[in-house]
Each structure stands twice: as structure tokens, then as C-alpha cells.
């Protein structure tokens, strides 16, 4: 029962319109991709949804409640892991709970159970710099999940990783999403990634950025590891490329 609705959102900076009339719906347990080129206003939209930026027009709703310009409802994960270097992994992922006012001991206890699930067992007492890039992103996702079991925003979370790590992270990610069923809005500029991971894709194109197309990926989940080598996959990719070419 968690649904995110973005309604007619527009935002300008310095008299330049960045995004225009954006409408997005994210249903419970869905993984929706927002696919757009760099500088297309993805990050602006993102800040609006997380409540850090107030839009010029439009509203954001979470489960029917208006949360426009109200941070503290939806958290996100970025390309940079943003783990605090001076906190152990355990204390990093527990941070959202501490911010919500939980006692340290309690917070540690409530995150402990999830290390296994996120493939992070044994890293509890380690510091972020002792972990590989992929593992740090796992911890970052776990922290996002600790903040909210309902909705998460992911802004190009895997784009800083090398191709091989990225591939294994995608597998890990699809697998974990089956278990935790976190409704996710995923921002990316990588078409392959978008097709591979999402249930639906919004294409964000032009300047100011507008959502021009919506594409449903019908491939059932859990998806097989070689989905990105199939004809269907290529067909989706071709469709997207055509639409980006002639909006």
C-alpha cells in the first residue's frame, strides 16, 4: 500500500525551465525507471520528490498524503555511496534510525538482521574504505531501505562501477528486490540497465525535460541472468532508441 504520485511538476532555475509538467506514478512493489540523458533535469526532479526542493508548480503525494517540499519521507541513494567514513558499516546503515530518534543499541539490533539479506554479512564492524565499490553500494542501498521500507529513489546507483561489477550488482539487485519488494524509482541514463531492471520506463527527454513516453517491460520477474542477451531485450532497446531519436 505505498504509492508515489508526482503530479504536474515544473521547476525553473534562474529563469530557465529545467523540468516541465512531469507526471509519474509508482505503484506498490514496482520498479520504475526514469531514463534520460545527462543534464535532462533528472536530478532536479529527484530533489523535488525527496522534498529538498520545492517545485514551482505541481505536487508530490505518498500514499495520498501531500509531501511536496517536505523532506524526511522519501530517501534516496546516489552514484556516490555517501557512507560516512568515520562510522562502521553497521553504524552507517543504522543512521536513518538514529535520525528518527532510536537509541544506538536498538538501532544496531534492528539493522543486524538484514546484513545477510543484503549480502553484507561480516562487514558490520568494518569501515567503508575497507569495502569494495560494489559492497559500499550495497550498504548504501541497505541504508536507504532502513530509512523506508516503502519507497526509495535511486539516482544512477551503479553508474560509477566497472562493467563487471555492475553486471553482478544487477543480478544481486534483481534478487534482493524479489525479497524486499521495495517500490523504487530508479534514475539512469543507461538503456540496458533500464530495460534489464524495470517494470516500466519513463523517457525523460528534451529541454526543459518532459516525459514523452512510457514503456512497459512485460518480461516476467524474476528475470533470468541472460535476459539482456535475448531478442526481446533488443526489441525493447530498439523501441527506446527510436523514441529518443524522434520525440
Amino acid at each position: 500500500m505505498s504509492e508515489l504520485v508526482v503530479k504536474n511538476v515544473s521547476k525553473s532555475f534562474d529563469n530557465r525551465k529545467i523540468i516541465q509538467d512531469i507526471n509519474i506514478t509508482l505503484h506498490d512493489g514496482e520498479l520504475v525507471c526514469l531514463l534520460g540523458m545527462s543534464g535532462g533535469g533528472k536530478t532536479t526532479l529527484f530533489n523535488v520528490i525527496s522534498g529538498l526542493t520545492v517545485p514551482d508548480e505541481g505536487e508530490v503525494f505518498l500514499d495520498g498524503e501531500e509531501i511536496t517540499g517536505k523532506p524526511g519521507k522519501i530517501s534516496y541513494m546516489l552514484q556516490k555511496d555517501l557512507l560516512l567514513p568515520y562510522r562502521t558499516i553497521e553504524d552507517n546503515v543504522a543512521l536513518p534510525l538514529l535520525i528518527k530518534g532510536m537509541k544506538k543499541k536498538e538501532a544496531r539490533a534492528s539493522v543486524a538482521a538484514y546484513f545477510q539479506e543484503f549480502g553484507l554479512e561480516g562487514t558490520e564492524k568494518k569501515y567503508p574504505r575497507q569495502l569494495s565499490g560494489g559492497m559500499r553500494q550495497r550498504a548504501a542501498l541497505m541504508r536507504t531501505y532502513m530509512f523506508s521500507r516503502n519507497v526509495a529513489l535511486l539516482d544512477e546507483p551503479f553508474s560509477a562501477l566497472d562493467t563487471i561489477t555492475k553486471g553482478s550488482m544487477h543480478k544481486w539487485y534483481l534478487n534482493i528486490m524479489e525479497q524486499i519488494r521495495l517500490s523504487t524509482l530508479f534514475i539512469t541514463h543507461d538503456i540496458d540497465e533500464a530495460v534489464l531492471l524495470s517494470d516500466r520506463i519513463y523517457l525523460l527527454t528534451g529541454s526543459p525535460g518532459e516525459i514523452t513516453h512510457e514503456i512497459v517491460i512485460k518480461e516476467p520477474k524474476p528475470r533470468k541472468g541472460d535476459f539482456n542477451l535475448t531478442e526481446e531485450f533488443l526489441a525493447y532497446k530498439r523501441r527506446i532508441l527510436e523514441r529518443i531519436g524522434e520525440p
Binding site: 530533489n47 525527496s50 522534498g51 529538498l52 523532506p71 524526511g72 519521507k73 522519501i74 530517501s75 534516496y76 546516489l78 556516490k80 555517501l82 560516512l84 567514513p85 568515520y86 562510522r87 543512521l95 536513518p96 538514529l98 535520525i99 528518527k100 569501515y127 574504505r129 530509512f147
Partner: protein, 256 residues
Amino acid sequence: MKRKLQSITFRINTVAAIAVILVIWQTVSALGIVPGYMLPSPVEVFWAFVREFPLLMENSRVTLLEALIGLLCGVGVGFVMAVLMDRFEALYQAFYPLVVLTQTIPTVAIAPLLVLWFGYEMMPKIILIIIATFFPITVGVLEGFRSADKDTMNLLRSMGATKFQIFRYVKLPGAMGQFFSSLRISAAYSVVGAVISEWLGGFSGLGVYMTRVKKAFAFDKMFAVIFLISFISLLLMKLVDYMQKKCMPWEDGNHE
């Protein structure tokens, strides 16, 4: 392993350089190139140190006490100022230039004033040390606060963190490196500040001892006390390094 080896070679080189300087110094004195009453040989300095040891320790105790009290207060003042200037932009704009201005006044110049105002006891000395030590802390810690990562702070804001929580979880721990760098400088300043203030009036302390031996033209004792002062400063700085290692375990082996 390689790093350890490098550090050992570095030490050996340092020790060798000091040894060479001492040998040259000893030779110069022994050959009478510089008259003995103006430049005592290292061996003479060493014996002066041994002879005067109880007196030096007695005076060190006073100087060290002043330095530590002054440093503690200076760090406190410096830290509070950094916090306030970070929190309130108006305070920053109003006081930062003034804080910088206080550093253009030489300590030696205000020391006599402080003696006139506060007498020959500990008070003027501690005030002088506070003036000398708060500045590096304020500047360093403030810089640390201000260089806190914007993305990280935004992330915490998205989680609904209050200003205080952002301070507590991001800014404060993030400024620890700068804090200790500044503390190292302030620790050295505190000893120098204590000695200078003792020159200008007081009953005991290494600075007082220095003025006394100066009047007696006892160069060997003069050198002995100079070495002692630099040794104390070095010791304090090492102590800060040790504290930093203990307080920042995540930095351990960062340069591997």
C-alpha cells in the same frame, strides 16, 4: 611492510643528520673556533642539564601547568567560536576578520600589558596562551565544518535530520582531522606562549629561569633550557598525534 621500512630509513636519516650537526658543533667548540663562553659545546650543555636537572624540572612543572591550562581554555574558546561562526553566518561575517586581526598583534607586544593588568601570577600567562592558541583551532575547525560534503548533508536532510543531527553526524566528526592538525600547532604555541609570558614577569617557570641564567651569562644553562623547551613542545605534539590515532581509528593505515 614497505611502509614500515621507509619510515625506519627516514628515522635513520634524521638521527644521522642530528649526529652530524652535534659532531660539527663539538669540533667547533673543542678547537676554540668560537670562544667557549659564547658557544658551549654539546657535552657542556649536557652536563649543565644534568646539574640543573632538579631546578629545571621544578620550573618545567610550572610552565607545563600554565601551558596545559591555557591550551585547554584556548581550545575550548576556539572550538566554541568555530561552532558559533558556523551556525550563525552573521557572527562569521562580524567576527572572523576580528579574529584574524588578533593574530597580527605579536604576543610579545601584549604580554607586558597583561602583566600590568593581571599581575605576576598565573592569570596573565594563561590569558596570553589562550590568545595564542584559540586561533588555529577556530580557523581549522571552522574550515572543517565548512568543507562538509554537501551531498551527504542533503542525504541526511532527505532523511529528515535536524540541523543539530547534521552537525552531530556529519560536520563534527568530519572536522576531527582538521581539529587535530590545529591542536598540534596550538600545543606548540602554548609552550612558547608560556615561556614568553614568563620572561616579562613571574616567580617561577622556564621563562623566569631563562632570564635568570641570561643575566648570569650562563650559556650552557641557556642552551640546556632551550633544548628542554623544544623537547617539551615535541612531546606535546607527539601526545596529540597519539590522541588522534586513538580518536580516529578509521584513519588507521590510510596511506597504504
